[in-house]
Symmetry: C2
Subunit: 478 residues, 2 copies
């Protein structure tokens, strides 16, 4: 029988990291391009990853008291303009609807780039008393930002995300919510995606349009560049004032509620690819892998092999694993390559000899370690092996970050590091935006965030030498 | 303590069915209006109903081999125009994006009113051989149709739905898929939503733009009007030809695949309201009710009542029921009215006397029947009571449909029925679109569908008297 196709090799990541990335996105069948620039099709395998991410996070949001809603996708221009900083930040990059059928609209509508304004319009209708607070809402949807340079997952005209939008009686409660959600994202990245992240506050220059403070988690990709993996914003009562949202407080006086928003997007799939992938393709953390274990029969024409393989599949499915049996007529070698490309965490091989011995072979995707496992113990062994893959991925990513994290005391030192390599550069900052801009223009790095865990590398700003206020992570970013 | 608000009475359904409907939508907190006409906000309670619908159907789609994907929301005008009938049907009612940021687009993009064209563009990329078939895809998203007259759930500019899009090697397989999905929808409506439906084929006049055949399920609302609850379309290879989608067949020759699409939308929530609701508010079928059992403590200030109520809540939650305890300081009477408005299927009352007797009171939402249930047997009694509510709702809806289904032999007879009342009118049809148009213009009824279960009421067309081909259900529709 002919193979259905050859598994072609992909570009090596050391040769051309960008090409390696797009090769994986395509060959692992995550995405297809549509005829609208920057709009992607999430194919079944890519979408299944997103569904797993959604399922885990949605549970965590609900456990922390959040409710899902759905907002319209259109924002009238006048509504977008209500908060000054917000409209300045987003208006240049929105898609405008100007016609409905053959009729020109009286007011043009933008397709939501984010939904603060829509939530605020609704909150003004439903918040009257302190008894109506907090409102803890979330929605899963896609949003649109008109980008010039696009890359699948990393920068798209349309992308999928969740956006949480909450309103609170006091500033303190809102700040706590902002931190709570940042922690949920950080835990999710580390414990489910095996991606170590740095939690911190964004500088004013890099914060969200309209926010008082933006917090982020920053991950390092294999090539040393940073990827902002999720953000959480504290708005104070700025939007509430702009949208005239008031409530009667416990003291019977009118007050403005305090607001947050927070989001994670399909961008995180780009982070998974660039954190864990290798020259054989995608490597998926077990928690979100659409297939956790692929069963590949060896010498499948021999009596009993396919039957045993199918029996194992049914047994493991029933035990709650996401498992797939490939009983196609492709060779085992072809199948090995195919599921390595697709990043399946564990491969289970079973042939006539194994059946005789009551065992199977498990091969880890992260390091190709082989283990012979007794079929009796398979169900209890699998969670351990999946955990081992997770731990292996996390450790490798952490090592990569440790290796590529530098410190700089002076501008020259920082510039030299930035010129020669990608990585996180820890350096002190005076808090002046002029220094931030100089580092961007002359050293090509931006501030990633000001980590919650501060170290005092020096007492002087790396740029101007004036007294330092904060340690900042600087780097090149996706 | 003051009540948080009075539960206001709603308009009686017999007095003004339309007003009754919008009262429920608002007072049960399903929907809020946004400032874009016809675009609604799905509030937490409304969205939770949709999430339950999604969960059940998504499982059924996956069990029948379908995979979820996500397509872009934009369709370039040239892509929409590829299939002639399709563009004629949809172009008049789409929203057009003409600007990205401050730049005018070279080609305008419509916001998807449905995604056949997008799926076809993708299928052309990924279908090469019979080995790539079938493709069984689905997506959950919102779509936009520029409607003049809008009503929450029933007719919206933007609404949420799922759209399945499949491609098959043979026409027969595609037809079977069309029927399979129609059956899934019908079963879902009857077994989960307690809404009896009539399965049938649409006339050519009423079929989907670009389809060879459209099948529908039609439900009757409390007022006797019809609501098309889901549709399933067979396209033949028309789109495949227009989009140049070919595959190498088993005979090594190029062929066009055969296509289907099928969908159900948030409209079905309108059907739930208008099938089951009453003058006290919403009545929800247990399978999709966000809260299946609401626990209302009686004399909750007395020692042990709130503790026992909380204990029951935890116990029932753990047993898998969707349960809510209202321990607010509103009176029991207020709470009864509130959760009747919200359509919660079962109310569980527990007070000091009940605790003493080791029992509680269960009250059904559909008929207010009361039962005293021993706390020991609560867990096993609840599923029976929920099933009883379901059965009660189904039977009442079926009775309503039976009462309001008429037959007509002549045009005069049909017109008289249509003038005097709403309902389904079974009458024979010759198959001529001229008769269909006359019935619409002069009797104000449209063809709902041609039921699979045909009866021969007469051998003559109700309109022109020529030989009849099919029995058609005629009626006024939402």
């Amino acid at each position: 029988m002919a193979q259905k196709k050859m598994v072609e090799a992909i570009t090596s990541m050391n040769e051309d990291f960008t090409k390696w990335y797009t090769d994986i996105v395509k060959k692992a069948e995550l995405v297809d391009y549509s005829s609208v620039k920057g709009c992607m099709v999430l194919r079944p395998y890519g979408y299944a990853i997103w569904e797993n991410i959604q399922r885990i996070l949605d549970n965590q949001f609900k456990e922390t008291g959040h409710e899902n809603v759905a907002m319209p996708m259109f924002i009238p221009e006048s509504l977008l303009q209500k908060e000054k900083d917000h409209v300045e930040g987003f208006a240049p990059e929105v898609a405008w609807v100007t016609y409905g059928g053959s009729e020109k609209l009286q007011e043009r509508l933008c397709v939501r780039p984010t939904s603060e304004t829509l939530f605020c319009e609704h909150y003004a209708h439903v918040i009257n008393s302190y008894r109506d607070l907090p409102k803890l809402y979330n929605q899963w949807c896609s949003v649109v930002r008109w980008e010039k340079n696009t890359r699948p997952f990393l920068r798209n005209t349309e992308f999928w995300w969740q956006e949480g939008h909450t309103m609170h009686e006091t500033a303190q409660e809102a700040v706590e919510e902002t931190e709570r959600m940042l922690n949920i994202y950080a835990d999710f990245c580390e414990k489910q995606l095996a991606i170590p992240v740095i939690k911190g506050k964004k500088t004013d220059k890099e914060k969200f349009a309209g926010a008082e403070a933006t917090y982020s988690i920053e991950a390092m990709m294999h090539d040393g560049k940073a990827l902002q993996s999720a953000t959480s914003h504290y708005f104070g009562d700025g939007f509430a004032r702009a949208f005239d949202i008031t409530f009667t407080g416990r003291d019977n006086k009118l007050a403005y509620p305090h607001q947050t928003s927070w989001g994670i997007s399909t961008r995180i799939i780009g982070a998974i690819i660039m954190t864990h992938g290798d020259d054989n393709g995608l490597v998926l953390p077990p928690a979100i892998a659409p297939v956790q274990v692929v069963i590949i029969p060896i010498a499948q024409h021999k009596e009993g092999v396919l039957e045993k393989a199918a029996e194992l599949r049914d047994q493991l499915k029933k035990a709650g694993f996401r498992v797939k049996l490939d009983d196609s007529d492709n060779t085992p070698g072809w199948k090995f390559a195919e599921y390595e490309m697709k990043g399946v965490p564990l491969r289970l091989e079973i042939g006539p000899k194994d059946i005789e011995n009551g065992q199977c072979v498990l091969v880890r995707r992260d390091n190709r370690e082989k283990a012979f496992v007794s079929l009796d113990q398979l169900e209890s062994e699998l969670p351990k092996q999946l955990q081992a893959v997770h731990n292996g991925l996390y450790q490798r990513a952490l090592n990569n970050r440790t290796e590529k994290t530098y410190t700089a005391q002076t501008f020259e030192e920082l510039k030299q590091i930035a010129d020669e390599k990608n990585g996180f550069i820890e350096a002190m900052w005076c808090g002046d935006v002029a220094c931030e801009e100089k580092l961007k223009e002359e050293a090509g790095v931006t501030s990633r965030n000001m980590p919650f865990e501060q170290r005092e590398i020096s007492d002087k700003c790396v740029c101007c030498g004036k007294p330092a206020k904060k340690m900042v992570i600087w780097g090149k970013a996706y």
